[in-house]
Amino acid sequence: MSKLLRLAVCAAASVFVGSLANAQAVISIDPTTQTASTGNVVTVDVGISNVSDLYGYQFDLAFNPSILQAVSSSEGPFLATGGSTFFIPGTNDNLGGTVFATANTLLTAVSGVNGSGELAVFTFDAIGAGTSTLAIQNETLLNSSINVISDLTKTGFVTVSSPTVAAPEIDPASTMSALTLLMGGLAVLRNRRTNKSAC
């Protein structure tokens, strides 16, 4: 398959994934992209949309430990709209670059929550220049029957710059080319991890 054909297939797959996203719960990083300078605190939310009867969830949040250092995590307000919750903030692995096993669940025999909302809030320290992806991994959504809810994830990006270094001059044409390639590559990576996309 030629490179052009692969891109075409992937583009079509992206359209397909986008249509699935309308029926499936989507876990995403909010904001999807943001910038920061080293030494700054970066806060990102993990949100969910289009979910029905959400009773509990669990996920890992992967990041580039050379750029970000996980500091803390806290419960978002969404699940608590359904009642009392039991939140596990997860374990920060700043060597491997993962906030491991963040989880939350409703308590007692109640129904899950519906719609969209913020699941958890994470804070990082920006320690190094560069762009770090923030990827939802090993996620599991459960409904009130303790059955798995299918989902999609959307990765976020945090670009950290060094405040002491002047911004390089960028050629717009080359930048666009590089950005196109980057987006295509990211799409492939994401679909592999979620195993829920055609690519």
Binding site: A103, T105, T108
Partner: protein, 514 residues
Amino acid sequence: MNTTERHEWLARVATRGAGLNRLSFLSRSICVLAVWVLGASTAFAQINHGCTSSASNGAYATTNGPAPCSNSDSGQFGGSKTIIVEDDGGSFPAIFTIGYSNSATASSSGLVLQASAVASASNSPAFYEYSVNGNGAQINNPLISAAQPVGESSWFDQFVALGTGLLQFQLTMVVTGTPTSSECVSGLTDAVIRADVFFDDNGSGSGTINTFDPDLPGAPGLGIYSSVCLGVQSTTTGVVTILAGESFSLGTELRAIAQAFAGYPYLVFNGASTVFVQNGDSSVNAKLLVYIDPLTPGAAYRDDTGAINAYLTPPSTVVVPDVVGLSQLAATTALVSTGLTVGTLTSQSSSSVPAGNVISQSPAAGASVADGAAVSLVISSGPAPVAVPNVVGKLQAAATSAITGVGLALGTVTNQPSSSVPIGTVISESPTAGTSVAAGSPVNLVISSGALQGDLNGDGVVNCADLAIIKASFGKKVGQAGFDPRADVNGDGVVNIIDLSTEARLMPAGTVCN
């Protein structure tokens, strides 16, 4: 008495033959009564029938000793009197008479009362019987020896006195027969010595007889009124209750004998014309045991005045009621109302008789006992104590058998989840094993209902502590450090959101953690 009268009197006496009246039998008695008439006016009663007696002039003599008297008793009472007869020493002796009147009666049938009299001269000059024997012999002792019927009024004899001397006159009364009831026989009522010098050689009757003569106006006299109580064997008794501090009389028909009852006050016979019994204690009623004629049990007796003075109760025995099985109070009430008392109380365990009730009694029901007798009771203290068996760890059925097998009862059974005790097995018991309890007491059991779903720490409840166990192992896989198999609720080898949410759904409503 003038000469004419004396002659008339002498003639009257002479026509009496032996000079004795046939005295009618007024009563029938088995006693021999003897009267000794003394100038010193002493009198006594002597009773030979086995019943002790006492008598004095003017008073009844009555039995006061224990019955029974014998059916063939005999008794006597009487007296003697010494008289002084003086002759004036003329050629014609003084002639005088001696006699007595007798009103002795015996109401009981079958009694014969007779009298005999003896007169003896104690010094010279001799006295001669003038008319009794008709031989004019000098009086020697006994002057009169034949038994004579004693009856209604009098008996006289004439004597001749030559000179002055003492003459002792003795009367003996004999009663024979078989009485049909007990009674006191009185005799010699107004017994007198009639000494009446009616004839002397000087015709003036100057002889002196120094004695009393109740028939002579103004003469000193002393009636002899004495009696003895004769009896048949008394076999029936009655009990008379005497009110506290009071007294009453018993008629002569009553053969009353006071007998102390245990617990009753002292009774006093005060001795009177009739027998009075006085309650010696003014605060407590007394009882008098009265022996009565067997022919008239339970009759109301009257004293001499006709007043009812005693009602005799029925025979003083009661039948012991059956109080077995009754409560102590009810048994006591039954006994007391029957006239019995409660004796010794003994406590004894019983598995069949409820605590506080009578197990047995002594004497047994139906026995005839004396009024006021004590009946001992054995009171149940309930079943004997039983040690609670150890049934912890046994299945409920086996535990129940063990409990009931020693006489205890299965109490409440409570189910309780337990992750360590198999389902259906006794977790605990109350009272604990070895405790001594009354038979039939309940033993409560706590039975394991098995592990409680979601009770990860086995504390019997599902709560945040169980979630904490999962949290501590969250994300761990089997084999990893920190993996707690309890947290792996679904047993898939990893502790994850499935375990957490599964546990979370088991939380009781309203649970709030963190």
